[in-house]
Point group: C2
Chain length 303, copies 2
Amino acid sequence: MIYADRLEAAVRRTGNPCLVGLDPHLELLPPEFAAARDPAASRAERAAAVTSFLLEVIDVAAGRVPAVKPQSAFFELLGPAGAQAWETVVEAAHAAGLLVIGDVKRSDIGSTAAAYATAFLEGLPGSNPSALCDAVTVNPLLGSESIQPFLDVCARGEKGLYVLVRTSNPGSDEFQAQGSPSLSERIADAVVRWGEPLVGECGMSSVGAVVGATLPGELAELRARMPRTPLLLPGYGAQGAGAADVAHGFLDGGRGALVNSSRAVLFAYRNRPGVPWKDATREALEAMIEALGAPLGQSTGSG
Amino acid sequence: MIYADRLEAAVRRTGNPCLVGLDPHLELLPPEFAAARDPAASRAERAAAVTSFLLEVIDVAAGRVPAVKPQSAFFELLGPAGAQAWETVVEAAHAAGLLVIGDVKRSDIGSTAAAYATAFLEGLPGSNPSALCDAVTVNPLLGSESIQPFLDVCARGEKGLYVLVRTSNPGSDEFQAQGSPSLSERIADAVVRWGEPLVGECGMSSVGAVVGATLPGELAELRARMPRTPLLLPGYGAQGAGAADVAHGFLDGGRGALVNSSRAVLFAYRNRPGVPWKDATREALEAMIEALGAPLGQSTGSG
């Protein structure tokens, strides 16, 4: 089954479009995992603490949401032990029935992009398929040629892509909003072209787009411009976007988008003195599901 | 000493602007390192073969050129063993007196970009400084905010950056040439701003730019637009640019640019039947030095 259909099935199954971003900022981990930020700890010890924390987060996410999104930077920070932690976390998420979107934002010329596509999506011969991602984020600055190797992998199997179209950071206007059509609009049109051969039975493509939920007006325009493109909406929660903002990213019936929250879920304990971190995380995730699940018929009585 | 001055000193010392790209395409390695592409080999065995090959390449580069540029994708392909190989190669290059420019092309929002800057340039407390890069390549699509964490690291120490301004791939026009001023020109203007506080005694900045040598006309314009910006020019050799093309990227006296060659040096043996691979690589590198070193007063009688 191609990625678009696997994603659709996962959203239908869980009844909500919530995506848990696995961004293990070392300094924000709960006190139980303080080894992650201990300057005297080795990278292997730090990586073990990060892994333990994320396995618990995956335990909270399992069965509740369709997917998780590990952020590569926080693993790369830990060197070889971080690369091992990445694979352990991806495998654990798969074992828990979650889709995994690797937030790697890679970009390079064709032959090098092909190496990245192999690294994250397809694997070398003999590699463990459950340690590979279901989809990755990519940066399109180098043009179609740099995206093609990822599209080739998607066409061969079950994998998907999310192309950066409009990012959620306050300074994203600087280059992305320039020109008419804007750079983001040009990229959106390319995403539609790239995705046309990869439309699933659900009517959506396996080639998605990252569009910041912090810009509701543009989100609505880009949603209309890419009618069969699954969106990945960052910016919910800690970055300031709410349920009304992200609503512009959905198609009828609450379909067509995933909404990411990282810090507001992972580090919810920071605003809940006295509450065990895992309870705070579970409650934050359930609140997000309740806020966003209704259009998909999610029962708000659960939990 | 800030990166700009360290780079200038390395170019003066070696008398040429040649940069050896360490892009270990598994399928192109010499037969001696065939374990790298053996489908039955583990990733650790493949990584060991890649490491052995690159240590020999570093042996050829040592004392001849100012810097090497490992390409992250080919290491990431090998998982945790690849991450270890990356650090081994970076350390070996430093031990051989070479500067190391990590070709990682990372891009992300502020707090995540900071994790990448730590991962590649600054290291966690207690990490081995010689396994960190002297500079990295970055993708500016997300704007100034995404570059700032890297600039902060550069301002604190001896590190540098190369921002993608105009890439060497045939399809780079698609987004980079759009608008007036073009996206590349806008990025170039930002690179000048970002680099102003980081100008060294040599008069150049520690904030550089990647500009493809395959587009000589634009290279000349971008050189003029960024007068204090060290350039990194890919595209020489295998991608088709020659000495006359890259000449547009230099300032007077052969200063202000590094010229990268990856495949034409690493895999020179493929066009030299019967010649041991390391001899072919050394001769290809010496030919490149001879072609490009003259403006810096490099003696063409060496080797």
